[in-house]
Symmetry: C2
Subunit: 716 residues, 2 copies
């Protein structure tokens, strides 16, 4: 990718401006996040000192955060180097542009998954192969391999908490940054002064393009890294628990390693898919989407085949288990494909729903908003039902189609659900490529506009950008779908941690059953984690509320930051003479600074809330309340996230549809109305919505890490 030409002098300058701005922001963000990480690590170290945790948690937490940050950093490096090159390639042809953008996205996708697998494998080897766990007394010297594997896998989940924390800051901070800049640029530039998007006369353009990189690329990289690592780690823990009593030698270890193996093969097969993505000049949106889905679907089919081979090899073909568990992976893959298709249907301007949003612009901005919100809400049905069916199918496949709710069936079934999540994310190498590709195309368009390249180049990058809106929504669908599948696994891990904490303190369950011998079902009954328990209900209410509260905080943060940006842009238009005629340069740096400060300032409260609320819930309501909180947050967060991602994607493309010449085209009243929709959609799809899946998992991870505290002290 770096071998491609970056284009004219002006293109180089602009790209370097964006690159510098992005790096400057990232440095700032990492500074703040580092402080948070150090504080939390100290808390964990103190907890370990009081035997509320084992002594590796604090360190595993730090490495998880570090690698997640690294994934975002590499992603952004790639993206900022790719945009000018994409614009330059788009000067030749649409296909050349697509290929540069898409392969650059692929570089990022592969980096993210590679880093995750590296980190997981490394930690596993260290914990399993060295005496580290014995040294910090996390396991006794007499512990057998089965016990040790359970401790290893639950410890590794704290590495997931590091990744989640980092991802939340990246998504929220980056999201606020990018949307403050975007909304600010659009509101004054497009709406008030009628100058085109990415026009160099607009002082917020550079900040807008920097934002695409820090929010949509670095944020998304950290996010999907977290999803990917999270689902693998949680499934490893489930495997350790489900096969703990297996009579077959080494079966437990095999079950623990299977998710990583599937994921690793997924990376390799994704590369094949990536090479299949190409298009012809003048291709419409449908052809572009088809080009991408050929790549993704090929990768999915290949992975399904390989999965059967992996399990046949690991589990042997004597029993039916190998193909039953493999079917669970296929269920996850299929669910991913359906969610992808549904997202495409609801957010691409090639289909009715988004076109209807465009049509409603004839009656003004209010109906654009109403119809977009309506569309987003309706679009939740297919993904939720798909995930619901996938959960039940994956569960039944893995436990041999036995509908009886026994402890053994439950463990195996949960492993099946976890492995389905791994299956859904196994194509991440390529789906992340399609996702990361979006902001690259967007930036390429910005670069083309600002460098004054011919109109057909901008047309090509616009086509790529519109495609990017849909693929980004698809990527978010994957992230939230896999989060919903992983969530049950995390609940099981929470129970496992409660068990370890009870064993550590020598306590029995509330109903007297010995902790070491208790099954998941015993735990549910002992802690009354049923739906008629008011504490569970209150937990669920708080969880649901958390999803909304979090979105409200981030939406308002964007609103506030955007308002400051609007005032600054207006000020520049007013006070800098000749700016509108292109005779004087706007003060880009000031806008970049405003976005950076806004993001730094606003990202703290929602992120810290996500950490504090599960801890408080545990201290007041105990185990049943925490489980309620997690389920409530999951259910509402899942649906809310799909709603926000799809509504946002649809608004953006509804605007693009009008820009293509429908209902009066660019500059018409209809166009203005859809710009309002697009602006509202910005925080929906790039700040609040995509943060929700991280929120869900971070709350689970925090609960897991704090399980020891919850067992020792709670009010009810």
């Amino acid at each position: 990718m770096l071998g491609k030409d970056e284009g004219t002098e002006l293109m180089r300058t602009i790209a370097s401006h964006v690159r510098k701005g992005a790096m400057a922001y990232l440095r700032q963000q990492y500074k703040v996040v580092t402080i948070v990480f150090i504080v939390l690590a100290v808390v964990f170290a103190v907890m370990a000192y009081f035997h509320l945790q084992n002594g590796i948690v604090w360190f595993a937490f730090l490495t998880g955060g570090f690698f997640s940050g690294l994934a975002g950093f590499f992603g952004m490096k790639t993206a900022t180097y790719a945009s000018a090159r994409t614009a330059n390639a788009a000067r030749q042809s649409l296909n050349a542009g697509l290929q540069v953008a898409f392969r650059s996205g692929a570089v990022m996708g592969l980096t993210v998954v590679g880093l995750a697998l590296l980190d997981i494998a490394g930690w596993f080897l260290i914990l399993d192969g060295t005496g580290l766990l014995e040294w910090v007394h996390a396991v006794t010297d007499q512990a057998d391999q089965s016990e040790k594997l359970i401790v290893i896998t639950t410890t590794m989940l704290t590495f997931g908490m590091g990744a989640s924390t980092q991802a939340l800051f990246a998504r929220v901070g980056g999201g606020i940054y990018t949307k403050a800049a975007d909304v600010g640029a659009d509101l004054v530039g497009k709406t008030e002064y009628n100058i085109p998007e990415d026009d160099p006369r607009n002082p917020a353009t550079i900040a807008d393009n920097v934002g695409d990189n820090v929010g949509d690329v670095a944020g998304m990289g950290a996010d999907l890294y977290e999803s990917y690592a999270g689902s693998i780690l949680a499934t490893m823990a489930l495997g350790a628990a489900a096969f703990a009593g297996s009579a077959v030698e080494g079966m437990q270890l095999k079950a623990v390693l299977a998710p990583s193996l599937i994921a690793a093969c997924g990376v390799l097969l994704s590369i094949i898919g990536i090479y299949l993505v190409k298009t012809k000049e003048g291709a419409g949106m449908k052809e572009l989407l088809r080009a991408l889905s050929i790549g993704t679907n090929t990768a999915a089919v290949l992975i399904a085949g390989v999965t059967f081979a992996i399990f046949a090899w690991l589990f042997g073909t004597e029993t039916d288990q190998w193909w039953q568990v493999s079917l669970s992976v296929v269920v996850g893959l299929l669910a991913g494909v359906i969610i992808g298709q549904s997202t495409e249907y609801y957010t691409s301007q090639s289909y009715k729903p988004t076109q209807k949003v465009s049509e409603s612009s004839q009656t003004g901005p209010a109906t654009v908003i109403i119809s977009g919100l309506g569309l987003g809400m309706l679009s939740t049905a297919i993904p939720v039902i798909t995930v619901g069916v996938a959960i039940i199918l994956a569960y039944l496949c893995a436990n041999g189609f036995d509908v009886n709710y026994t402890a053994q069936n439950l463990s195996m079934g949960l492993y099946g659900i976890g492995i389905a999540a791994v299956g859904m994310l196994s194509t991440l190498g390529i789906t992340l490529a399609t996702d990361a590709y979006g902001p690259i195309a967007d930036n390429a368009g910005g670069n083309a506009e600002m460098s004054g390249l011919p109109a057909e180049v901008r047309q090509r990058t616009d086509a790529l950008d519109a495609l990017g809106n849909t693929t980004a929504a698809t990527g978010k669908g994957f992230a939230i779908g896999s989060a919903a599948l992983t969530a049950l696994a995390l609940l099981a891990s929470y129970i496992e941690e409660i068990k370890i904490a009870l064993i550590r303190t020598g306590e029995a369950l509330p109903n007297g059953i010995e902790a070491a011998k208790a099954t998941l079902v015993d735990f549910m009954n002992a802690y009354n984690v049923n739906l008629m328990n008011p504490i569970v209900l209150v937990g669920i209410f708080i969880g649901s509320m958390m999803a909304f509260l979090f979105c409200g905080l981030t939406m308002n943060a964007v609103g506030r930051a955007a308002q400051k940006m609007v005032e600054e842009v207006r000020r520049q238009f007013r006070t800098i003479k000749g700016i509108l005629e292109g005779k004087a340069d706007p003060d880009y740096a000031r806008c970049v600074e405003i976005s950076t400060r806004g993001a730094q300032h606003e990202m703290l409260l929602p992120s810290i809330l996500a950490i504090v609320v599960p801890i408080l819930t545990g201290l007041v309501l105990g185990v049943a309340g925490v489980l309620g909180l997690l389920i409530g947050g999951l259910a509402t967060g899942f649906v809310l996230a799909v709603f926000m991602a799809n509504a946002g994607g649809a608004w953006d493309n509804a605007k693009k549809y009008v820009e293509e010449g429908h209902f009066g085209g660019k500059g018409s009243d209809c166009h203005k109305a859809t710009v309002v929709g697009d602006t509202v959609g910005d925080p929906f799809k790039d700040t609040s919505g995509p943060s929700l899946n991280i929120l869900i998992k971070l709350m689970s991870m925090v609960s897991i890490v704090m399980a020891g505290l919850t067992v020792t002290c709670h009010l009810l």
Copy 2:
């Protein structure tokens, strides 16, 4: 109220137009609803024939629907007669206007609660005093009084299903009608032609004013009737279950009658509160709000006192139970007050949050939308936490502060939660008055404008109207808060019905425990209704999704109906010559017709979905899935409803705040931006949002009525 003068000739004509339109619509709606009721009654009769239900259900269902419809009808009669009189009284003074509007609202409030109590008492006397239950073999001749009371109270819940079904149609149909007209009138009139609200030149004005009556009055009347009856009926059922084994003679009957007694006293004490509401000329919003809250809070304090007396008399003062249960009522009352205050804070233009929404209009409509959505989301925190705390406190108070989760504690605790819901709604006589008063004031404003009354009259009705927006949001807060409290009671009733169905078919629980002897906790364990059961999780997902899907359907329905209205209004402005100069009359009737047809057409799908989905869930997922569905729908629906009601209220008042002269006042760009917010808020606060609490309860009621079917056949 009818003794007051209706004003000038023109005022009378306009009022009679509105009255006729409203009645015509209501006739249409009742026609459609009657068909649905007959179909459902036949289904129930068939189910009774196959012993899946007792033989009174179908008839109780019909009467519930009938009385709920009657409550709406009377409410609308009152409101349509009151608006011109309010406008006329406002010609004298603000206080005179307030009093006519408020007392007319009170007539409606008292009618609703009176009808509910009449129906409940009547049914109870018939079922308890006659041999009807024995005659249809719902109870055997040998049944003791304790068993019989349980059957009576659960049978009476189906009367609640009738009320819920009627209420859902009234809310959704009326909501679509009113908002199609409102959005249509605003979009073309205010935004495109810059003519004031309720201007007689606007063809959609009459439809708009009719809409206020059919949606906000008839719809709300049916809605609150349903909430009121639902909470009393559910608590009666809980009382029958909790005190079934009481050693004290007649204790169970007393516990069953207590909720109705509290409610009846609440009605009487509300009247005192109603007489305390008055204001001075030139009063600001804060004074007006204070005038109302003096009335409401006095009623609340009086009811709290009387409750202690009631329970001391019923339960005797030998044990602590009388004051413990009374405390639960106080908890409910307090929770209601806090929810009311919080709603006021978030939706009244006297406070910061709504003013900030107005302020954000300086950067255009997009930021108005973003900040309104943000405000709505943040505003969910206080009500949810309040209800959460209330649930736990009411639970603990009623079972004597015993945190152990035993079957007996659970039953008593649930009774406490139910009685807290009754407490929250016991001030309904007056809170409904404040709520019903809103649309009366709105219509009075319309009448004043169309009749060309002097500007100060319109100013006075505007002040009353702005107050109405906040009180309406408060009313919705009560409806949804009580729904959240009642929901657990309905879950318990569902289990009770499952039990009755099992006893009828002679089956035991899945784990072998005899159904007749099983406690609630046994049921939870036997059906594995715990949070680690994938079926429960899938149910919760579907429930959450239902809340969004339902809102999406109703939002889109409003969008579609409004679009037709916009086209019609534009057509009339274009084709009828002299309409803008006031020389030619617009075709009001055509607009009324379009709204009516739109509402009839669009209300069916969402309403039927609410009935079909719980049945399907029961058939596929069984008992655990249904309970998941209900909890998921409750949790997400609760938060979503608060969000929508408050965001909608805030947008409306943010517009009013600008109209008061801030940020440029009427006609400025800021005003236009807030009109967009107001328009988006219309379906939020008057269609989708307030339907959610009915949806939640209707799904529970349907599940209860269909429990027999779920026990007999389900897939998983």
